[in-house]
Amino acid sequence: MLTAGLVMIVAIAAAIFAATTRNIVHAIFALAISLGAIALAFLILKSPFVAAMEVLIYIGGISVAMVFAVMLSSVGKSAPSEGMTRRLGAGFAAIAFFAGVAAVLIGADLDGLPVPETSAEAWSVQQIGRDLLDRFNVVFELLSVVLLLAILGAVTIASRNDGHDEASSGNAGAGLGARMPDEMRPGDSAASVNPASPASAAPSASDASRSEEARA
């Protein structure tokens, strides 16, 4: 109970920070924190596999891809400022939505409903896997098609008009694979730098030893 409350507070606080901060990178990291807390909430809700996937895909994948997008699009640390009316309007809408649905929820009195009996077997990862490939196999296949299309679409959109610059972010199921451009482009924060020619980067043993010295 206490843990759950803590997790909720962290998740909501981080989410609010993510939704309101003008620093887009901070927002992404706050989102990651919020997602981590939500993963913990999943764990509390007896779904460890989903929690793991949440972390793996959301934090390891989507958040990272977002940071990547920020860096590639060089939008800088601060987003354009939103007007007060805009924020007030959106806030009103969000709060109105919250209040409306919360009223329904509280009015519904869901806590009185009986909790059905379930076996430990039903909660196991095996059961999820079995259902995934058995009862929901059509959906599963559809999802795989969606992911494939997403990869293709992402690659197509990201590489259009510009054959040379192949920056793309694609998702391959478990993780997000992003292909870096051949020549790294410096971000906004990094002043324009002439990237070292890749050919000159051929390492040598002496380089390596020097680097070792530098580390030590």
Binding site: M1, A4, A11, I12, A18, A19, T20, I24, A27, L31, S34, L35, A41, F42, L45, K46, V50, M53, I57, Y58, G61, I62, M66, A69, S73, V75, A79, P80, R86, R87, G89, A90, G91, A94, I95, F97, F98, V101, A102, L105, D109, D111, L113, V115, P116, T118, A122, W123, Q127, I128, D131, A150, G153, A154, V155, I157, A158, R160, N161, N171
Partner: protein
């Protein structure tokens, strides 16, 4: 109490995401809002799954699908954002109203 608590939690996440979607001008911030909304929905699934489901695998699978779709959505959205950035050198939605009536 707990189920309602979880649902309110998910509702709060959803509303916060909604605020971000409505208020923010940065496309990536909007994407963040969308992810928050999706997670709110996922929490909702799992809350009902944990408290009311006879077949708890189903709720988890639903959330897995949500996560998978979110991954696809993020991939597409981010590449669109990059394309938008490339074509107009900004990812501010304020200028993205060519389809207005």
């Amino acid at each position: 109490m707990m189920l309602t608590g979880w649902l309110l939690f998910s509702l709060a996440l959803f509303s916060i995401g909604l605020y971000a979607v409505l208020a923010r001008r940065n496309l990536i911030a909007i994407l963040i809002g969308i992810e928050l909304m999706l997670n709110g929905a996922s929490v909702n699934f799992l809350a009902f799954n944990a408290y009311l489901s006879k077949d708890p695998a189903v709720g988890q699978i639903a959330v897995l699908f949500v996560i998978g779709l979110a991954a696809a959505e993020a991939a597409i959205a981010l590449s669109i954002i990059l394309a938008v950035y490339r074509s107009r050198n900004a990812i501010d939605v304020a200028g993205l109203d060519e389809l207005k009536g």
